[in-house]
């Protein structure tokens, strides 16, 4: 199959996702309200309670709002990844997912395109958040606005792939709400999004390891370092490995022969 065919297909899927995004303005605003509430209320309340020592990539003491900003950026992507998956479960239940799956273009490519389309939407949300967050004094170096982009792409892919895998494993839309509670909240709270890992280690060693091996921590830390134009190879490699694992699982999940669709009778 010619490369141009793949390109047209990719463009079509991204455009469709973008159009849906434009048509569903409330989705954009709700995606922004959530992290802004955390930033404006939660962080304001906890800034006097939680002190943050100087830890890389920061070179000085920072207010708590600055510390949790990368976690909230990752939160936007986490919710976006789960929301895309939710729409996949919905599309599958409503039937429109079938339109995509019966395309002659290989299924792995269709799923990757859908994933990229979701990442594209999440990046728009993140930049909108960064603009509003600057009102709270969260102003990274100018270069950070550019260097964050690769980290956003990879973390968006990882979280989207995780959501896609979950969507392949979920039979009905109602079950997805439960998975959201069992995935989103544990992932978010058991990570370095709200408190540094060394603080968690001081409290509980086993929790530290849970947080350390949580894929979401890798997303948060990759975003944190890249926002200050730095690279942390440990987190960078980790996030790529998690992305490959989740992507592989989701492709298997949607494989007509081996995946979860087969087990469930395509429903």
């Amino acid at each position: 199959m010619k490369l141009i065919i793949y390109f047209r297909c990719f463009k079509g899927i991204v455009l469709r996702e973008a159009l849906r995004f434009v048509h569903q303005k409330e989705r954009f605003f709700s995606a922004l309200v959530r992290p802004l509430v955390w930033l404006g209320i939660f962080a304001a309340g906890f800034r006097s309670v939680l002190g943050v020592a100087i830890i890389p990539p920061y070179e000085t003491y920072i207010p708590y709002e600055v510390y949790i900003a990368p976690g909230l950026i990752a939160m936007i992507q986490l919710f976006n990844g789960m929301q895309s998956s939710l729409s996949m479960v919905y599309d599958r239940e409503m039937g429109s997912m079938k339109t995509m799956l019966v395309s002659p273009i290989p299924r792995w490519f269709l799923l990757c395109s859908k994933l990229f389309a979701g990442v594209f939407v999440s990046i728009l949300q993140v930049y909108a958040f960064l603009i509003i967050a600057s009102l709270w004094g969260i102003i990274p170096p100018i270069s950070g606005y550019i260097t964050i982009l690769p980290a956003l792409v990879v973390s968006g892919l990882m979280l989207g792939a995780l959501g896609m895998f979950l969507s392949s494993a979920i039979k009905q839309l109602e079950n997805f709400a439960g998975v959201m509670n069992f995935v989103i909240f544990p992932m978010f709270f058991a990570s370095s999004a709200l408190y540094p890992l060394w603080k968690i280690e001081e409290t509980s060693e086993w929790l530290y390891y849970v947080c350390f091996y949580n894929p979401f921590t890798y997303a948060v830390e990759s975003i944190r370092f890249s926002l200050y134009s730095q690279i942390n190879f440990e987190y960078g490699i980790g996030i790529i490995v998690f992305t490959i694992i989740f992507l592989f699982l989701s492709i298997i999940g949607y494989d007509p022969g081996r995946g979860n669709l087969q087990k469930k009778g395509g429903k």
Partner: protein, 243 residues
């Protein structure tokens, strides 16, 4: 010439449940064939296997001699599908939906625009091109789905209970339109339904019940073979419905 659709000895299970049992069907180019069966007979499962939503456990399915499992890309290129459930994106316009489908088949934007204009003209919905799908009636949505399924110029059109839930006027219009497509070219159609009044004499029928093909052939031959007056009575006799 290859058969438009050749299904040989397909058996499919979901766990212990046998949804299809040694199903074999041949449809030639230009044929309009009705797949008749009650709800739960296995029609949708069969369609899901033909379109490779999931793989058949045994047997083979070929579309214009391309095996769906081994050469799915070439096989799927030749299929147009109208699923039982509506599959249009309600928040997008008719045109956006059709462009999306064209992209999924790798059709260029220029070609897609030409084809959309041609297909939308055939179903007489030109004035609805920019309308949101949400604003369309059930019958109009179905017609758009048929137009969409033909955009990539398939050689086999699969329709899974396309008229369910529609009023009689829309049902007749859609049926007439699809039959006319068969007559014009060598497009083969497999029309799944449980509505017996959608079958005319002179057409081909495949009767499926409990996952098995229990009769197939020309409608008149099926009537004759079962020694009944019409296809309704023949069907009732074959599936054991007492009237």
């Amino acid at each position: 010439m290859h058969a438009a659709l050749e299904i040989k000895n397909v058996t499919h299970k979901f766990g212990e449940f046998k949804a299809l049992d040694k199903v074999s069907i041949i449809i030639n180019p230009g044929d309009f064939t009705v797949l008749l069966g009650l709800n739960g007979a296995g029609k949708t499962t069969l369609y899901s296997l033909i379109t490779r939503l999931y793989n058949n456990n045994t047997g083979s399915i070929k579309i214009h001699n391309f095996n769906v499992r081994e050469n799915s890309s070439n096989a799927l290129k030749n299929i147009g599908v109208v699923f039982q459930q509506p599959t249009l994106d309600l928040d997008l316009s008719v045109e956006e939906n059709l462009h999306y489908h064209s992209a999924l088949h790798g059709i260029s934007k220029v070609d897609a625009s030409l084809r959309i204009s041609e297909e939308i003209g055939r179903i007489e919905l030109n004035e609805k091109l920019k309308s949101k799908v949400r604003s369309l009636s059930g019958g109009q949505r179905r017609r758009v789905e048929i137009a969409r399924s033909l955009l990539h110029r398939p050689k086999l059109l699969l329709l899974d209970e396309p008229t369910v839930g529609l009023d009689i006027g829309s049902r007749q219009m859609i049926l007439k339109h699809v039959k006319s497509l068969c007559k014009k070219g060598d497009l083969a159609v497999l029309w799944a339904t449980h509505l017996i009044d959608e079958i005319d004499k002179g057409e081909k029928v495949v009767i499926i019940h409990d996952g098995k093909i229990i009769e197939s052939g020309d409608v008149s031959k099926v009537i004759k073979k079962t020694k009944q007056k019409n296809i309704r009575e023949a069907f009732n006799k074959l599936v054991g419905i007492k009237t």
